[in-house]
């Protein structure tokens, strides 16, 4: 799997368009995403440890949904897989998936900080 940019640049443009080009607002949303995500990862780990499928599904869904907003398609795809696992109450490969999500998030985080306006 090659490693292009972890975020789709058009996503940020779409978002800017949504808020009438208010870059500060987008910056603020990025900050929110970056601030909330560690808690989501903590919940994902907790779900794995306790085999809590519901928590896994819902947390993965939120991560997916949040990531989609910023065009973090790779991370969103991993999150969707995790969500599927939770939905099917299937913990097979969940730890590997969680590890790759963490790695991908690090890339996303860097890219967002770089792309963050202002």
């Amino acid at each position: 799997m090659s490693n292009p940019s972890p975020i789709d640049p058009t996503a940020l443009e779409t978002m800017l368009e949504m808020v009438g080009g208010d870059q500060t607002f987008v910056a603020d949303l990025i900050d929110t995403y970056l601030a909330d995500s560690p808690a989501l990862f903590a919940d994902l780990h907790k779900a794995l440890e306790t085999s809590d499928a519901v928590l896994l599904r819902r947390t993965a869904h939120t991560l997916k949904s949040n990531s989609e907003n910023f065009g973090a398609t790779q991370l969103a795809a991993i999150a969707r897989t995790l969500e599927e696992r939770g939905k099917q109450n299937e913990f097979n490969e969940v730890d590997e998936l969680l590890a790759s999500a963490t790695t991908e998030y690090t890339r996303v985080e860097a890219a967002l900080i770089a792309a963050r306006p202002v």
Partner: protein, 817 residues
Amino acid sequence: MAAYRFLGKAMSTILIVDDSPINRKLLVRALQDLGYTTAVANDGEEALELLQANPQAYDLVLLDILMPRLDGYGALAAIKNDPLLYELPVIMITSVDEIDSAILCIELGATDYLHKPFNAALLRARVGTSLAAKHLRDQERAYLQSVARVTTAAAEVEAARFDPASLTEVAERPDELGQLARVFQRMAHEIYARERRLRLQIEQLRIDIEERQQATSEEVTVYLPIDRRVALAEGRDLPERAQGAVLIADISGFTPLTEALAHELGFQRGAEEITRQLNRIYRTLIAEVDTYGGSVITFTGDAITCWFADDTPFAPSASENGTARALTCALAMQQAIIQVGNVATPGGLEIRLALKVVVVSGHVRRMLVGDPAIQQIEVLAGAIMETLTTGEHIARAGEVLAHSSAIEALNLDYNGEWRSDPVSGDQFALVSELPYATAAPWPNITSASLASADLRPWLAAPVYERVRSGQSAFLSELRSVAALFLSFSGIDHEGDPAARDKIDAFTRWVQAVLNRYNAPLLQLTIGEKGSFLYAAFGAPVSHEDAPLHSIRAALELRTPPPELSFITSIHIGISYGQTSAGAYGGPTRRTYGMLGDRTNLAARLMQYAEDILCDDALYKLTHPRIKFVALPPLSVKGKSEPVPVYRPIAEIAIGNPASQIDQLKPTLQLVLKVASVIGNTFSEPLLHAVYPVAADIPELALCLATLSDHGLIIPGSSDSANPTWSFAEASIRELLYSRLMYAQRRQLHRAIAEWYEQAYADQLAPYAAVIANHWAQAEEREQAIRYLEQAATVARQRGDNETAMHYLSESLAMSNQ
């Protein structure tokens, strides 16, 4: 809570339900930028709490699917199951991979879905579309609700329980419905105000009428002789045969006074003034009769006939028997007329009214005859009445004549002048002074002591109704009246024990004939040499066909039925003209009668008639329908010129007037039809004004002349500025009116009402009732009500509360329709 909202983003509130703070923030910001108001909920449960707390506050829900506590499916299901929320549009927020879920949600009732990540254009479009649909639905619902409210209001107005405030909200709408509601509200306000006003007025009138009835049931009693009143109140019968004295007081000088007043004041005011003068004299004379314990039995034009009974509670000694009191009264009357008999006319003429009084003693029969259901009539009969008439003929103004019977009854040694009647040989003493006789006052009879059932038979029904309802003032009016005098003989009053029964049978038959024409029998006079009766057509209840009715009645009365074959030599005189009809007399005794030149003429014509004679006025009004023979003009007493007279032979069988009308040219038929809408009498200028075919108008005068030749209409007023015509018979008018199409009638009635409004713009009041009727027939209710109210005011001003009440009730009924 506004039931109705107008399209406008600022007014639209969108509830965003998402557990993701990022999504929430993003959507809040994006939607606020689009101008919407937003609210947020973190999950389905929180969303439902907000929605249920205030179901009307939100216009759209953006609902995420996967959320803690209650997810999007659950929230959507709850919304769609809530009767207050199910119409609220819901847009599902879905991920691209949740398309199946989105479709499921739409099946569950969601309006649309939105993908994440959000796209500004899609968001704007979907939110906009959903809200527009919602607003459209809201508007539609609000509109239907408003329509329902106006409809309900209409039903409530009809049921008279409408509250104008119930439309206030609808009336705030800026659209046509709001306009309708405002107009409706205003109209309802007006109708309510009007109905309240009418009810109040009617209530007030009812009180007035009741009060007046209270006061006037006493007035009804004065239409009975005072001794009859006392007997009724004490539950006694007056004996049919009684001993005492009769007195006739005949006022002379009224004919010159009538002429002078008519000349100076005109006919109408002259007639009013003569009535006033007559009543002033009557008041004085009747007061004397009361004082001496006499009772006024009958009024005959300008004379009163009174009875003074020997046997009354007021005759304690022989020296104060009926005769003594009658003669004392006669002298007192002569004293009084000196005081009150001088009349100065407005034009400066001095006219002296004088009195001749005759007293005869003996026994009299006081007979009650007539059908009590129509009117019970008291007549004095007996030889004593003949003697009285004889004395009346030979008495001169200013004299009191006492018949020899009276001198005997007084036990007086009379040495004065005697006057004798050459035919009968009766001797009358010219009395100038007497020992003074007195009488105790008549007991005061209040209405309370007499039941209306006892009173009712004493007055002709139409007179009774008016007097009873406090309209006796209204009874006095100048009317076109046909007066019918009928003389008859064939009853031996002294010798025939069945005399009373025979008079009664004849009177009842006459009453039955007259009653069909609503004509009261005003007077019945019984005498050996001649009995006569007097009836009026057209008063107190006016009738368009009074002239024709009087002749028809005369033709019927000419030949009594076989069971009355004892009645012989019937002679009838009829005349028609302006007559002052009204209540005559004083406060303690009154009658309903007619005064007028034409009335006297009828009495004269009776004397000359072979069977029936009528005057030229009646001939002119009825000749198309009656076959007449013109007789040579007759010289009658009281007329300087010989008067044209006619003898009606029979009613002309004109067959079916309908076929006669059918044979007329269409133009003539139309003229009659248009005239029929105006009324039984119609003015030519009005006919011109409303006649719908312009091309015919130059020929209208000719048409009217032709119709007159056909005997269908009769010329009325000869006022060249405003010539009028009447239908020869009301039934002709009814027939033509019935042939008009409904729409035509309405159109014509409207035109006529408008014509009156224009023609009499500066003095509409007297025409208010006529105009109201035309507007009512034109189905212009508002106008009709307005004029009815005005007519009621006019009626009230002249004291005719009954009529006022009738108009008001009519307008109230119309208002309630």
